[in-house]
């Protein structure tokens, strides 16, 4: 008795295998897409965390939040804030040199220098009212005569594709210097095709500078 397979059997086998492989491929492909989505969404969260952590560390190392940057507002005004070029976070970091003898300081010199750091936002498309924003960090060093060294100023891009970012302080009569700085940052996936399915995350944090003015 011949024990081989017929063409029909082979065809059926191929069809079954095709269906199985197609199903498997679909499952794999779906899983891969889902994983990609999850990774991309996590990437949004990571970007949020990383950016806020960076600003937080920056502020905590600072001595003084420059008054008015950001502006102090009433609690009821918070929901009305929107991203703008004028909304800036500006603070100063002092760097001391304790190896100097104060009697050796020339007239007008102090034993510290400082860096003035500004976080600000720029629209990625000036013409598009729905444009995403880029967060920039500029640094302006001051010398030990309290004079700005404009030629040494730098600007560094912290993040692109920001949907919303606002800085503010709350008016609180019982705190010194306007209390904490609040940062509200919102990121939205820009690569998803379906607008309604865009992953979006928004975090608001508050942080207080640790240092103080040396005088």
């Amino acid at each position: 008795m011949r024990r081989g397979v017929t063409v029909v059997e082979l065809m059926i086998g191929l069809i079954i295998m095709s269906i199985l492989f197609t199903a498997l491929f679909q499952a794999f492909s779906t899983s891969r897409r889902t994983a990609t989505e999850i990774i991309a969404n996590h990437s949004i969260n990571d970007d949020l965390d990383r950016t806020l952590l960076r600003i937080t560390d920056d502020i905590r190392e600072s001595n003084v939040i420059v008054p008015g940057y950001p502006a102090t507002i009433e609690r009821m005004e918070v929901s009305t804030l929107s991203t703008s070029k004028e909304n800036k976070l500006k603070f100063e970091k002092y760097l001391y040199d304790y190896t100097k003898d104060p009697t050796s300081l020339a007239a007008g010199e102090v034993n510290y220098t400082k860096n003035e750091i500004t976080y600000y936002l720029e629209p990625e498309d000036d013409q598009d009212p729905d444009s995403t924003w880029t967060l920039q960090r500029s640094m302006l060093p001051y010398n030990n005569k309290k004079q700005p060294e404009n030629s040494l100023a730098t600007v560094f891009t912290i993040m692109r594709g920001i949907r919303e970012c606002v800085f503010y302080r709350l008016n609180d009569a019982n705190t010194s210097g306007g209390g904490n700085v609040y940062i509200r940052l919102k990121l939205t996936r820009t690569d998803a095709e379906d607008e309604s399915k865009k992953y979006s995350n928004e975090i608001t944090i508050s942080v207080k500078e640790r240092g103080a003015n040396p005088e």
Binding site: G4, A35, H42, T103, V110, G177, R210, A212
Partner: protein, 776 residues
Amino acid sequence: MKGNNMKSRHGSAIITAIGMGTVMLFIIVAIYTFSSYRTQTIIQESRRVKALAIAEAGLELALAELTKNSAFATHKLTKDFTWLATENREHMMQDLSGHGLKINAATSGTYSGKIGDGTFRVRVGVIPYADDPETTTIDESHSYVRIESLGRYDTAIRRVDAVINRRYPAREFLMYDGKVLSMVYGLPGLTNTNVFSTGHLYGHEGIEIGRIMLSAHNPTSLGTTQELNDMNAIISGAGGIFIYSPIKAQFRARRGLPAKTATIPTNTVFPTGGTFSSPEARKSGEMPAEIASTTPALPDELKPWIKDRNEKMSMPLSDPPFAKYKSDAKAGGLFFGASDSSNKSIKYHMPTGWTEDGSTKLNAVFLDFGSNLRQGNVSLPNNFNGVVYSEKHIVVKGNPPKDIHIVSDGNVFMAGDFNQAGNATASFADYYGMAQDYKPGENAMTAMDYADHIKERFIEDAEPGATFRHHVAATVVAQERIVYDYRSPVDCFENEIYPFMKYKLASAMGSEANAKDNCLDRNRNGTINFKSGSTEFEEAIDQFFTDYPIEGTDAANSTPTEDTLKQKLKDLHTDGNLNFDDFDNVCREVWKGYADNYEIAASGERGAPSTFAQSGSYGVYKLLSGLRDKMGVPGNGNAQNFNPNVIDDDPDDFLYYPELTTNAMFISCGERDTIFYAGPDVVKYYNKIGCVNNNVGRRHSETNHFVHRVFGSEINLRTHDVHRIDASYYIPPTRRKIYDPSLPHMGLTGNKYELTAHIVISWKDTAASEEEYNGF
């Protein structure tokens, strides 16, 4: 072939299965790896956050130790931040088992412990930065502290490396107030000026400065104004700075900032019809709602010196270390318990409305450290550790011989000149106490401070090896109030009245010209010439006591004290003229007669004038008035028509303008709880007693006619509840609150009691390795 087909078929299935399995495994591994990575990242991040929190807690604990013991340090440190040898230390913080806090026992080196499941190791050292001679009010060699704290949680270790600016408010600030610092002193209808000179002013919840314009929030005639001189900064921690009238101000230069003279413009119109939470609150210093939470504008050009809450210079302070003070006073100082019955314990008479229970006396200890003109009643023990502590109130005057902390659980009454000794051996000008000389052409009312060569004596006191100190490092601390007590002219103006009394007596016994040459002018080698006729001499002595009686108003009914003194003086005639020292010895006995008869004779009681001293006939009042007449003080006894420019205060004589002098760091904790109208209002009862006609004194002077000179600092923490005082009326003196430039240095090294504030001026968080932690 068949076998091959079969093999091929079996092989395809296996390969397919392996292939599918591989794909599945790949997917599973990928998902596992991804989720595992995420999990591990989150776990590690969580550990890092916890380790950072523990490192921060270590930093805060070190700051708490520094607050409780300003001499706390674990290691020496180089300028480039290298840790050197360990330092002996004593930690004050206690374990809190309920909160998982345990501090490891050690007497030197790294400060370590456990918080929850984590551990910390901290090093603290003073950065050996040199003192900057340009910053008069700060000693930079004690002002910067590095704290490096390592926190460990499981495998994560974080490091917080911070530099702390240590501030010594009692040494640095002329005035500090834990609530609103009110600089509105004086009376309406006057043109005198209170001067506040050098250092910082700080009001934690705001500062108000202005001329007298209101009385109980009703308009009144303009009055005394305030002036700021040589100031470093005016700082409000969490409030506004309210300027009610233009204030002349002069700010000192700092590095990178020139000196500035300006008039601080008015920025607040005080609302006379303001809104208050209650009528009682209005009388208790509450600011009206209309301005209470505002931050009035200040000129940009003055912002380097005037800093409101927007500048974030908040410096709240903790209580002084009372428990430590008490234990140290018992161990090697002077301690007076609540039931002390030594001869220092007295009943101190108080004005009506002053005591909590309505009684007329308070239990106190009376401490007189003596002066150039009298012996005190305090003997310090051998190896005195510098602390005097009383659970009773303290009444104090005189010149402490050593650096000292005078601490009371209640009030401290400053009842006479304090801490300003004259070096009579080295300088004849200091014979009766430190010479209170002003520059030629100036006087106590026109000048802000003594002449430069006098001021330098205070600075020299702080120099190493100073053989004589006109003032010592004195800290006066009260859990309740520091009270300036102007009731007794004998105590307040002793070194001013005594030379004048001596001059008047010499004038009576001889001639005015001779008395002037040898008693008022600084001439120690002259002779006090007596009247030649004994009858004339004796009548002159009688007349002196008629003019300046010690007891009673009728010379014919002279009392035994006067009789004794008179006879002693009359007997001098037979011996002929007297040299300076012999005449001075006699005069001191006469003065003692005045002083002894000022107060009632009741044993163990102080503070109540005798019946005679409650009348205007008492000789000391007349001598005080005569002193002013001699100096040409206009309107003597009348506050009006006063022109300070005509006062004749020659810098080369012993004529001194009436002045209560209290030199120290004054630290009180009591809330302000008395009648106190906010704003440019005259109805503000500061903690003062006396100079009014009542059961504890006479109105011996007007505001224009005596000066209260505080050379040091005044810290009012407002941290303790105190009973209310509703009847504390007094005549305010003209004020001179002047910063003492020896404060940043004198008595600071190794001082564990200092009141300190700590400001983080640099902070960095980094990772650290296991090896670094273990070796720390």
